[in-house]
């Protein structure tokens, strides 16, 4: 195999693959990128067996063929090359010869024969607007559980209704649900669990492709396929039963208060400096005309912030994990938010507020008993 390629193209595509290159060396070949050259393109593939990315870009192919090269080492090296054409030649001994201007390097590769075969996609389920999908991922990804033992919560539920797309994530303490209207082309009732890592990679790939691009989404029994322009992301589905999220969503809340997002965020960030390092507990007190956030550490100090609010209901004090509240405020795109609640023991809810909000974004947080 022999080809030349622009350094920019190679660095960009290799960069997009790094996230799925196996960092541990349990299976050595997974540290390598599979390079295939044919006619006027090269295709680069990386996988950790859970997730795979296949990229493609134009190149001048002198001799078609394929080989595998250590992905990180290759990127680290070509990044340091000057902006020019890079020539790559892989011989029968699997060594890759890389030449650029007066720089010459040989990197030990491995035979492609032992590189795993990626699953092939079947027919398309739906077209998804890239901007819409990535915005929904951003609104939910932070609520995914970090506890590996709760594997059904290590990803988000994606649900295609006839007229909309729903994404839900929860770690058992809070739940984030985003729903957008979408013409799914008649597909209804499709559901799948997308692993967190795949969601992160979709964010990177859509950022590269642009918000206006379209994602061709397809699925097999075990895998999900996201074709984003010339790049394909393949993810193993998470198995297991995602919790019945509709049961968890509160039907109604007796009280609510509207707040300016930035003001609330700044207040919580300040007060949380004086919350327990592990629990991040702060007390939220709502009383007539005012919302107070308070936190104290007996040995360190205490802090309180007060925000004027339109509220007429009874005095309520609820403990929350400040990090959970801030996660929502960072992900919410609107300038004002509504906080709905009942009492110190019941789930609270936050939503974007305002007349322009034409989508559903609900964030349910369980209180802390403090």
């Amino acid at each position: 195999m022999e080809f030349t390629i622009a350094r920019t193209d190679l660095v960009r595509e290799l960069g997009l693959l790094q996230g799925v290159v196996e960092k541990r060396t349990t299976i050595p070949i997974l540290s390598n990128v599979l390079v295939e050259a044919s006619s006027d393109r090269i295709t680069l593939t990386a996988t950790d067996l859970e997730l795979g990315i296949r990229c493609s870009c134009p190149a001048k192919v002198k001799k078609a063929g394929s080989g595998t090269i250590p992905a990180k080492r290759l990127l680290d090296y070509v990044r340091l090359l000057p902006e020019a054409e890079i020539s790559v030649k892989v011989g029968d001994n699997h060594w890759a010869n890389i030449t650029c201007g007066r720089s010459r390097t040989r990197i030990a590769g491995m035979s492609r024969d032992s590189y795993p075969e990626l699953p092939a996609s079947t027919e398309k389920v739906a077209d998804l607007p890239a901007g819409l999908l990535s915005s929904m991922i951003q609104q939910t990804i932070f609520a995914i559980s970090n506890e590996e033992s709760r594997f059904t919560l290590n990803g988000a539920l994606m649900l295609l209704k006839g007229d909309g797309l729903v994404m839900v994530a929860t770690d058992g303490h809070r739940l984030s649900m985003s729903e957008r209207p979408l013409d799914t082309g008649g597909v209804s009732g499709f559901r799948a669990l997308i692993p967190r890592k795949a969601m992160g990679e979709i964010l990177k790939l859509t950022a590269e492709a642009g918000a206006d691009s379209t994602i061709a989404f397809s699925s097999t029994d075990n895998h999900l396929f996201f074709q984003i322009g010339e790049r394909l992301l393949i993810s193993r589905k998470l198995t297991g039963n995602f919790p019945d999220y509709e049961r968890v969503l509160p039907k109604e809340h007796p009280h609510s208060v509207a707040l300016a997002k930035e003001e609330l965020k700044a207040a919580i960030e300040r007060v949380a400096q004086f919350s327990d390092e592990r629990s991040h507990a702060v007390r939220v007190q709502v009383s007539a005309g005012e919302l107070k956030i308070h936190s104290s550490l007996s040995e360190t100090g205490e802090s309180e912030d007060s925000i004027a609010a339109t509220y007429e209901g009874p005095n309520v004090e609820i403990g929350f994990n400040a990090v959970y509240v801030l996660d929502f405020l960072k992900a919410c795109g609107e300038p004002s938010v509504a906080f709905h609640f009942k009492d110190a023991a019941s789930a609270g809810e936050m939503r974007p507020a305002g007349e322009d909000v034409n989508y559903t974004y609900r964030y349910i947080i369980m209180p802390m008993r403090i």
């Binding site: 929860t170 058992g172 739940l175 507990a281 789930a347 369980m366």
Partner: protein, 415 residues
């Protein structure tokens, strides 16, 4: 300068048995179980001790040494009741009382001179009060530190009061064997003997740096202890702090080693219930659950897991302990099994979204079960899984059944 009393009940379990059956008085009595059973001696009367029987000795060995002794299973509830009576009496004497175990306590009586008189007179007064209230004998050690008072009460036994006059601590300790220092066990004693240190006085003469080089942090503590200071582990904590529990645990030694999964799991269930009950009693929520497994070869492992949310529910502690057991049991017969809860917090913390209803129901069930147990006894309610795992509780006079302060710096083996 502090004045500390160490009150240690004399042959506590045996003495309590004597209250209920006076015919036992003056006889060799061993509490722990039948002479041919597998367990160890919990307590022995002074008559039995004359034959070399002591607590923690296997019952069979005790039988060989003293075949005419009366072997009793013992009555945990009676000991607990009498321990409460003793505690009540001590608290009536002075407010700063630290029950170190079921049968011993430290009292800080600093500054009570005008009320109780000089230390020795106060000691006799308390000694008489305890005897009058409970009919039991105790020994009291008095000094300026908890450590010296503890050693002192041991020297005063049986039924004595001993005061080490301030300033004479080192002279009092010097002729005693190093083994008398609380925390010095067989291993440390051997290591010290290897350096030619046999008496506490030998230890006191040594350079602290040498001890630190030889035994690390524990060496420094030893140097302090040899001079009569409260140093090392629990003795480092302040008097009141020492009340604050760091962990709660229960363990069980099987009469016969067993590899029967059902029985082991049932025992874990029962131990988890006991731990849960104590957590609720004290208003604590545990973040970490640990199990302890000892096999027939005395090979012991402990494995711990930290929960996402602190808990005091038997079911959650059991689920965690069981998972740890399934993961770590090597299928060999088990001699001892234990469930340990630590990382204690005073509030439950983050509530759960997905099992709200379930958890509330369990919480209500546990509190109802606690009320039943209070009324009808500990075995009146149990998790179904724990029914097969019930065992007669063996009480050990030497190790505490109460909340244990964490032993911080004592090495597992020294040298």
């Amino acid at each position: 300068m502090q004045t500390i009393f160490h009150v240690d009940m004399d042959a506590f379990f045996v003495s309590v048995e004597e209250v209920f059956d006076p015919s036992l008085k003056g006889k060799a009595v061993v509490v722990g179980g039948p002479a041919n059973a597998r367990g160890v001696v919990s307590a022995a009367s002074y008559e039995a001790r004359k034959f070399g029987v002591h607590s923690a000795m296997p019952l069979r060995t005790a039988y060989q040494k003293c075949p005419h002794a009366i072997f009793l299973n013992g009555h945990r509830e009676r000991y607990a009741e009498y321990s409460r009576k003793v505690e009540q009496e001590l608290r009536a004497f002075t407010p700063l009382v630290n029950m170190a175990s079921i049968d011993e306590a430290y009292l800080d009586v600093t500054g009570t001179g005008r009320l109780h008189g000089p230390p020795l007179a106060a000691g006799h007064k308390l000694h008489e009060r305890v005897r009058r209230a409970t009919g039991l004998n105790c020994s009291i050690g008095i000094s300026t530190s908890r450590l010296v008072s503890k050693i002192c009460s041991d020297q005063a036994k049986p039924n004595g009061v001993l005061w080490v006059v301030p300033g004479t601590e080192a002279r009092f300790l010097a002729p005693l064997d190093v083994r008398k220092i609380p925390g010095v066990g067989k291993k440390t004693e051997e290591a010290l003997h290897l350096c030619g240190i046999r008496k506490i006085g030998d230890l006191a003469k040594l350079d602290e740096e040498f001890l630190e080089r030889r035994f690390g942090k524990w060496g420094l503590a030893l140097a302090g202890k040899s001079k009569g200071l409260d140093a090392g582990g629990w003795f480092d904590s302040s008097f009141i702090e020492a009340e604050d529990p760091k962990s709660i645990s229960h363990e069980h030694t099987f009469d016969e080693d067993t590899a029967e999964r059902g029985r082991l799991i049932a025992t874990i269930a029962h131990l988890s219930e006991m731990v849960g009950r104590r957590l609720r009693d004290h208003g604590f929520f545990a973040r970490t659950v640990q199990i302890k497994l000892r096999d027939e070869e005395f090979h012991t492992i402990t494995r711990a897991h930290t929960l996402a949310q602190a808990s005091q529910l038997d079911t959650e502690i059991f689920a965690e302990a069981r998972a740890l057991f399934e993961k770590n049991w090597n299928r060999k017969p088990v001699r001892l099994i234990g469930v340990h809860a630590s990382n204690l917090e005073e509030s439950e913390g983050q509530a759960n979204l997905l099992d709200q209803g379930t958890k509330d129901r369990w919480r209500a069930a546990m509190s109802a079960a606690d009320r039943l147990r209070e009324k009808f006894g500990d075995d009146s309610v149990s998790l179904a899984a724990g029914l097969q795992g019930r065992f007669r509780r063996r009480v050990d006079e030497t190790s505490t059944q109460r909340l244990e302060p964490e032993k911080k710096d004592k090495p597992k083996s020294s040298g």
